[in-house]
Amino acid sequence: MLALVSPALLVILALIVLPVGWLAWQSIYHDGFTLENYRRVFTEDIYWRSFALTFEISLAVTLIALLLGYPVAYLANALPKGWSILILALVVLPFWTSVLVRAYAWLALLQRTGVINQLLRYLELISEPLALVHNTFGTVVATVHILLPFMVLPLYATMQKIPGDLMQAGASLGASPSLTFCRVFLPLSLPGVLAGCTMVFVLCLGFYITPELLGGGRTVMVSMLVSRNVELYNQFGAASAVAVVLLLGVLLIFFAVSRFISLERVLGQK
């Protein structure tokens, strides 16, 4: 049996474990051991700002995705089968279009001469085009769009397992629908909330394409810091240190979450 897994395991070891190990080594070794890279990452302003910005954007994206995703998952769960399949199909549809295609679409919609600005000017609601893209706003709008399915699917899967009788029991005992929702349904859906939020938050922490294309160079997320240190400045040690800090953050989140729900549940939706 071990012979059967070894080819796959070898590929993973050679292309994930070895490269990540290499990064970790490179972050502390340059003509001798050094913590210089980490000192820079933790003290220099540009790194701090980027980590803080990435954290803020990820938090905002996660909260917005939860606020948008919860009602959709709730409705899909509450409606009869045919309707819920339709809703889920619409949720998964963008999932299967390339991230690049969707970045292009958001540029087409949000740029100065884009669809939304043209529409608003045609309706004479604005006289000057709004700056909707090449900033943090555009990044957040497009990122939420890409990550929303990762929120809706685990929410829906969890809600499906909540027995409908419980709501009826709540109602028969005299609770109003909103009270039953708050006291019965919402708490039971929390594992789904946790799974969805974890996936969205973690994916957002490492997002690269969307902020690079829609952030206009001003929204420098951690992933861009890594790539710029490699491509522009040849600062391999600094890039590695940033990557290691990011990875440790992600692993820490997964570890913390795994104490409450199974990781298979979080990753299974991807």
């Binding site: 049996m1 071990l2 059967l4 897994v5 080819p7 796959a8 395991l9 590929v11 993973i12 050679a14 292309l15 994930i16 474990v17 070895l18 490269p19 990540v20 290499w22 990064l23 948008l68 009602p71 619409l90 549809l93 963008p94 299967w96 279009t97 390339s98 991230v99 690049l100 295609v101 969707r102 292009y104 679409a105 540029l107 087409a108 001469t113 884009g114 669809v115 043209q118 529409l119 769009h145 929303l148 629908p177 909103s178 922490l205 490492g206 690269y208 690079e212 294309l213 992933s223 890594v226 790539s227 490699v230 391999f236 990557a243 990011l246 990875l247 992600v250 990753l267 299974g268 991807k270």
Partner: protein, 261 residues
């Protein structure tokens, strides 16, 4: 007649708006790709196929398309058997270490892709695999493996291993009984896993940005570079084709998964 509560109406309205937000960007690409305008204008002034012509007559785009399709096909051919073998072993073996191996095979989904990309770039630079086709294929095999493993493991759950025991007690060896008894029953999840690996390889961008170059640049890398510089409607044409292709593949995959056996 029951009265519809305001909360219910709000739920419908919010959900409808969210669904429009999800779908609209996907739908907007196709009309742009058929527009005759040089710059982005909406609604398009008139219908034209010039951006499709532009794409099919441009040697650089065509070369990139060939690279993408070659890489995606080779990825499926390599990742599928590796993933099936691994998933089979994980589901059948009682060894403790299999749980750890299972988690290890899902690592490509856990490690942020930018970190994977930079790490592979450093390793490839050492062994001379940067800007080569084998390098690109190998990276995509690694990224596609989790999809095959997850899909096949899901398929194995409904498979009764006793059947294989029967085949072996009747004199088949392990390999033959796998191909004669097990594989036909998990075929649809194997095919679905392969299709997901294909789509993942077709869409992969970030690793390609770091490790591909020269004549072996996939479509996504050229699209990314083009998008950074200027919004060329040719990309809308390519995007429309890519989206259509991946929808057809997903339809094929889900049709297979629903079929019993």
């Amino acid at each position: 007649m029951t009265r519809i509560s305001p909360a219910r109406i709000a739920l419908y309205v919010i959900s409808a708006l969210v669904l429009i937000y999800l779908i609209l960007p996907v739908l907007i690409i196709a009309p742009i790709s058929f527009s005759s305008a040089r710059f982005l204008t909406f609604p398009p002034p008139s219908f034209s196929l010039r951006w499709y012509q532009q794409y099919f007559s441009n040697p650089a785009w065509m070369q990139a398309t060939r690279v993408t399709l070659t890489v995606a096909l080779l990825t499926v051919v390599i990742a599928t058997p590796l993933g099936v073998a691994a998933a089979y072993a994980i589901s059948q073996s009682k060894l403790r270490i299999m749980r750890v191996i299972h988690m290890a095979l899902l690592l490509p989904l856990v490690v942020p892709i930018i970190i994977t990309a930079v790490g592979i770039f450093f390793v490839y630079a050492k062994v001379g695999l940067v800007a080569t086709l084998p390098g690109l294929v190998l990276a995509n095999v690694m990224l596609g493996l989790p999809y095959v493993v997850i899909s096949v493991l899901a398929g194995m759950q409904s498979f009764d291993p006793a059947q294989e025991m029967v085949a072996r007690s009747l004199g088949m060896n392990r390999l033959r009984s796998f191909f004669a008894v097990t594989l036909p029953q998990i075929k649809s999840s194997v095919v679905a896993g392969g299709i997901f690996a294909f789509i993942s390889a077709m869409d992969e961008t970030i690793v390609a940005l770091f490790i591909s170059g020269g004549q072996y640049q996939p479509l996504t890398k050229r699209m990314f570079t083009a998008l950074r510089d200027e919004i060329d409607p040719t990309i809308a044409a390519i995007s429309t084709l890519m989206t259509a292709a991946s929808f057809l593949l997903v339809l094929a995959a889900s049709a297979r998964q629903k079929k019993p056996g």
